[in-house]
């Protein structure tokens, strides 16, 4: 089959064979994950190494992490369509694709994670409005719908589809109203990113997780939204850079990257200051009120105080400072270091807010709880990564994801 008509005009793509080989490798990984998923659905959650102390584990972390990393989508939408940073139009397509991948993955993981998948719809039909998880499920699903709508015009820009007047006009009209969807997405995201933070913050039986509230929202509610906005762009930039590395092409102009990085930097700095204040208040007021000192929470060899230092200083202040300084973000090594640290930082934050919450013993006579995921858990967590690679590869090959690609890589 000649696939030339499928490839956007004016750009070069690798050969079909090269591409097929790459897809075969990634699909193999994907199938491994699908097999694990089948085992879990068929045999039940005994296929995992979760237990009654670790009801939430690797998957919930993966959920929280991918949604934070996918936060670039709503934040770039916010900046582009609401604040009016038009420069970011050059990167927003990728942010939307990443968002789509992250949110669909999150939904899939949730469907694997529940003990009774066939009852999953109860969360909507029998919703408990007081539960943060209900809020998460609703906003997640709604925002996923929004992301799908945002993704559609990009798909319709595929040259072959674009030839059909119906699709062409649909695409055109959708572009016109995209700002509305972007605004809706931003609104939804503020809530569900926050409610994911609320998931841990409301657990007043878990001193490590519990935070003081503003009205019904614990501090973590705001910190999660803030951190997703701050670190999500890091991931968008990272994926751009990786794509550029693999395709050996420049795809987005530096100006767009630097602008995005700068905004991300300021978000990180402000977030990490807020996070520090939250940590200090928690360590000196909230926790002692429940009979805990800060070091009680970091008394295990795995979960030691180094984690807090890593999260706040190494993956917080350092990338933040790099990205807010012009010299820092324009130095490609420093930029890469900062965005990688940022991605690690937000993932680490989500990790401690899920796994460490479970690990810390609440009773003085209990030991720290330990957990090591089973291969089935790992495989199903790798599954979205493989799926994401496939979607990005396909999107890049057949869709004009990077508007500046043609300009930056003219074909002779």
């Amino acid at each position: 089959m000649n696939e030339t008509p499928l490839i956007p005009a004016g750009v070069k793509r690798c050969s079909k064979w090269q591409f097929s080989l790459w897809m075969a490798v990634v699909t193999a990984v994907l199938l491994w994950g699908v097999y694990a998923m089948y085992l879990i659905w068929y045999k039940g959650l005994n296929q995992t190494n979760m237990n009654d102390a670790y009801g939430f584990a690797l998957w919930i972390w993966a959920d929280l992490a991918v949604i934070a990393l996918g936060g670039g989508a709503f934040f770039s939408g916010f900046l582009t369509y609401i604040v009016g940073k038009n420069e970011l139009k050059n990167i927003i397509n990728l942010a939307v694709v990443i968002g789509f991948i992250c949110y669909s993955s999150a939904l899939l993981i949730l469907a694997i994670d529940i003990g009774q998948p066939l009852r999953g719809w109860f969360i909507f039909w029998h919703a408990n409005v007081h539960s943060m998880l209900t809020e998460v499920a609703f906003c997640l699903s709604c925002y996923f719908a929004v992301l799908t709508i945002e993704f559609i015009p990009l798909i319709l820009e595929n040259p072959k589809l674009d030839k059909k007047p119906f699709w062409h006009h649909l695409s055109h009209n959708m572009h016109g109203i995209m700002a509305i969807f972007a605004a809706t997405g931003v609104f939804l995201s503020f809530f569900h990113q926050g409610s994911l933070g609320g998931v841990a913050g409301v657990l007043y039986g878990r001193p490590f997780a519990f935070r003081e509230h503003i009205f019904i929202w614990p501090f973590t509610f705001f910190l999660f939204t803030w951190s997703a906005a701050a670190y999500g762009p890091c991931f968008t930039i990272l994926v751009t850079k990786i794509t550029e590395m693999i395709t050996r092409k420049k795809l987005v102009k530096d100006s767009a990257i630097h602008l995005f990085a700068k905004i991300s930097g300021w978000m990180i700095i402000t977030y990490i200051i807020a996070k520090s204040i939250d940590t200090i208040y928690w360590a000196f007021v909230t926790a002692p009120g429940m009979g805990f000192t800060l070091m009680d929470f970091y008394a295990s060899s795995t979960y030691n105080i180094g984690l807090l230092f890593a999260e706040i200083v190494i993956c917080g202040f350092i990338p933040g400072l790099i990205l807010i300084t012009k010299r820092g973000r324009e130095n490609s090594f420093l930029l890469m270091s900062a965005i990688i640290l940022g991605v690690i930082g937000v993932s680490l934050n989500r990790w401690v807010m899920v796994l460490q919450v479970m690990a810390v013993p609440v009773f003085s006579f209990n030991e720290w709880y330990t957990y090591m995921p089973s291969w089935q858990e790992v495989a199903t967590t790798v599954l979205p990564v493989a799926y994401g690679l496939i979607v990005i590869s396909l999107a890049h090959r057949y869709l004009p994801v990077f508007p500046q690609e043609k300009e930056l890589n003219p074909i002779d």
Binding site: Q116, L118, R119, W121
Partner: protein, 763 residues
């Protein structure tokens, strides 16, 4: 309208889309979504218990000899729950975990559901289902052969009890058949009974009137770990007045020690020395009951026998047990010994009891005698709150057995186990000696056929390897066990008894209780499987053997036998489930004894043979030697009992095993308790794997660091390490009996081992 591939696709798409859109407007997708979730709520592989009418049936638990009353809840005749019977005189509604788990002994993969004949090698687990006719026929044939060859005495029968009609029926069978070798499993009760016999001259069931005592000094008795009737002991503990004191003397902080007012960690095996040390203080400080000692006791002071020979009295003997010396032996602080002696003597109703843990091992007679002497010193004999013995229940009445010549000859043969012989005149059964006797016999085994009921010697006897070797030498083994236990799995034939909830059985008074209570265990449910009451099996075998044996059993079945046995009491028992024979302490004659001296004998004159050997029958303390070279085996292993683990003939129900802590059993590996200081010296951390070696065997264990055990001592629970039963019990941890061996008390022949030397190496 031309249809080609492309338009076909388009039309199909349109059709599907239209169908999808249309279906959204029908109930189908929504109803199916709902129904699929309802299907998950009603998975056919998740059982739905049938509802019905609730009724209750009262009976008695016979899983152990405790004799606690139970109340069984039934739904349409199907038992669903067991609880304690509120107004039962033994347990007053309290029940141990085993009793509550009872329904798991009614059903489950461990049940033997029909008679079985061994197919493969012994213990291989290959069985053939056979009919009752075939199974009974095979046993009858073998027994007839042995009788025909003039060796009826080579048939031995091991039982769990010698009280009540079923054991008596079996005893009657053996008598008519011609074998004296009725062997009951021994417990601490044997040693205590013997000590009471030697001091008071009374043969009977010991009574510890803890109900009315106000100071309980326990020499290692696990009164809250399953000692005696567990239901009774728990009930007593729960309902006791706060003034009651419990002092627990034990090397390990057991559940009893944990709940005691005081725990004294003692060097294991030195309890007798402590008892004598306490006696020393009590006598030295003149705190003893003068009235009792001077008027109703013999051998307290030095005395002269008929030959004019002067013997040391008890008071003189205990002079050797000054607190200093006893402190060295026992490891208990001198001041503690003195204050304990004073507290014990000054209490208004003190009682001293012994029998380690559940009381699985009889222990040394000297120790039991020392404890009895302590009770005598405070005059708490035959008094409320004290120690006494009630005569064995004699409600069973049946015609005399007439025996033929073969039987008569057989009955005149000495018992294989040596009980009642000149060497052990005061002991009735010595199962612990059996393996050694069989193993050391030249030529063929003295036991040619072994019948086992209500016992599991292959598991419960110390030194499992020797027991297995002995059993391998017995050509014919029949088990009547309802469960595939270790002995049943080594049998040639299994003639399964009904489970305890399916069978009729009278239950006589359990040890310790100051009232004579006979209860009736009634079937609460019809037999589920092809099983037969063990009494019926024996009656059928007797009838098939014919002659005098048949004539000894004129009853149609066990129930008829029971009815006739109980005569006029049957109706009352059947109606009420319990008959209580009021046992009033003979108040004016409380201190009359059937001994030679008609007094309580601090100096037990009936201890004939011992007297000759030791020159004195006084209960002195000589360290009980334990096996193993001190240099090679630096540690001492003691078995311990737990209420959550059944170490006896009937093993744990899955529910009980489920309650076992992960510091006792982790996956399939048992944990050994060790003091952290000792562990440190061996380089062992919590949960570390180690090789445990004793002179009897070795095993891999994990260690659990526990401050509640004396340094240098290591402890493992009884009740784990089964090799038979089902996956819910088998191969979990180690049977501590594989690591220990029996030690014969020179006076009684009973097993008095309390531990064994051991070494532990990190691996």
């Amino acid at each position: 309208m031309k249809i080609d591939r492309r338009s076909f696709l388009t039309y199909t798409t349109a059709l599907v889309l239209g169908g999808a859109a249309g279906s959204m407007l029908t109930p189908a997708p929504w109803k199916l979504t709902d129904d699929v979730s309802i299907w998950t709520q009603n998975w056919p592989w998740t059982p739905v218990p049938e509802d019905g009418e609730v009724t209750y049936k009262q009976s008695v638990c016979t899983l152990c000899p405790g004799g606690c009353g139970i109340n069984v809840r039934l739904i349409d005749g199907r038992p669903v729950k067991i609880k304690g019977l509120e107004d039962h005189p033994v347990n007053k509604g309290s029940l141990c975990p085993m009793g509550i788990s009872g329904l798991q002994y009614l059903y489950g993969p461990s049940r033997v559901t029909s008679p079985l004949k061994r197919e493969g090698k012994r213990g291989e687990g290959k069985w053939k289902k056979v009919s009752w006719e075939e199974a009974l026929g095979a046993v009858t044939k073998k027994l007839a052969e042995l009788r025909a060859s003039g060796r009826p005495q080579s048939v031995a029968c091991i039982t769990g009890s010698d009280q009540g009609t079923t054991p008596n029926l079996i005893g009657r069978f053996l008598t008519a058949y011609g074998s004296p070798n009725y062997i009951r499993s021994a417990t601490a009760q044997d040693a205590i009974e013997q000590a009471i016999y030697l001091t008071q001259g009374k043969q009977g069931t010991p009574v510890f009137d803890i109900e009315n005592a106000d100071f309980v000094l326990s020499f290692g008795s696990g009164i809250l770990d399953g000692w005696g009737s567990a239901g009774r002991m728990f009930n007593l503990y729960g309902s006791q007045k706060p003034a009651k004191k419990i002092i627990q003397v034990e090397p390990r902080l057991s559940d009893t020690a944990a709940k005691a007012n005081q725990w004294l960690g003692i060097n294991p095996g030195t309890e007798g020395a402590l008892a004598l040390g306490l006696a020393h203080v009590i006598i030295k400080e003149s705190l003893y009951d003068r009235n009792f000692v001077e008027n109703f006791a013999f051998g307290f002071d030095d005395w002269t026998d008929d030959n004019g020979k002067t013997h040391d009295g008890f008071a003189k003997m205990v002079k050797n047990f000054a607190p200093d010396k006893v402190s060295k032996i026992t490891g208990i602080d001198k001041a503690e010994i003195v204050s304990l002696a004073r507290a014990f003597a000054r209490a208004s109703k003190p009682i001293a009891i012994n029998g380690r843990g559940h009381g699985a091992i009889p222990g040394s007679i000297d120790e039991s005698l020392a404890v009895q002497s302590l009770n005598a010193l405070v005059g708490n004999i035959n008094k409320p709150g004290g120690i006494s013995a009630i005569p064995d229940s004699n409600y069973a009445k049946w015609p005399e057995v007439n025996i033929d010549e073969i039987a008569s000859k057989g009955m005149q043969q000495p018992r294989i186990d040596g009980a009642g012989s000149e060497q052990f005149p005061n002991t009735r059964f010595l199962l612990n000696r059996l393996p050694e006797i069989i193993n050391s016999a030249k030529g063929e085994s003295p036991v040619q056929a072994l019948l086992v009921t209500d016992a599991n010697p292959m598991y419960t006897l110390p030194d499992t390897a020797a027991t297995k070797k002995a059993f391998d030498r017995i050509p014919f083994i029949v088990s009547f066990s309802p469960y595939m236990d270790e002995t049943a799995s080594h049998a040639d034939y299994i003639l399964p008894n009904h489970s305890y909830l399916e069978r009729l059985q009278d239950v006589p008074t359990a040890a310790g209780i100051s009232r004579q209570v006979i209860s009736l265990a009634k079937p609460v449910v019809k037999p589920t499987y092809e099983t037969k009451h063990v009494g019926d099996s024996f009656i059928l075998i007797a009838k098939a053997l014919g002659g005098f044996i048949e004539n000894a059993f004129p009853w149609e079945d066990y129930e008829a036998f029971l009815k006739e046995t109980l005569k006029d009491q049957w109706r009352k028992l059947k109606k009420k489930g319990i008959i209580e024979i009021k046992y009033d302490l003979p108040e004016p004659l409380a201190f009359t004894f059937n001994t030679v001296s008609t007094k309580f004998e601090f100096y037990p004159t009936a201890r004939g043979s011992v007297k000759q050997k030791q020159n004195s029958a006084l209960p002195t303390y000589t360290p009980v030697p334990i096996e193993g070279d001190v240099q090679r085996f630096k540690l001492v292993l003691i078995p311990y009992d737990s209420i959550r683990l059944a170490g006896g003939a009937i093993a744990n129900a899955p529910f009980m095993t489920k309650t076992v802590d992960d510091t006792v059993l982790k996956k399939q590996v048992g944990l050994l308790e060790i003091n952290p200081a000792t562990a440190k010296g061996l380089g062992l951390k919590e949960g570390a794997t180690a090789l445990l070696t004793t002179p009897k065997g070795e095993t891999t264990v994990k260690v659990h660091l526990y401050e509640g055990i004396k340094p240098g001592i290591i402890a493992m629970p009884r009740g784990l390490g089964h090799t038979a039963y089902s996956e819910f019990l088998a191969d979990k941890g180690i049977n501590v009996n594989t690591l220990t061996g029996p030690i014969e008390d020179p006076g009684s022949g009973l097993d008095m081992a309390w531990g064994i030397r051991a070494k532990l190496i990190r691996i």
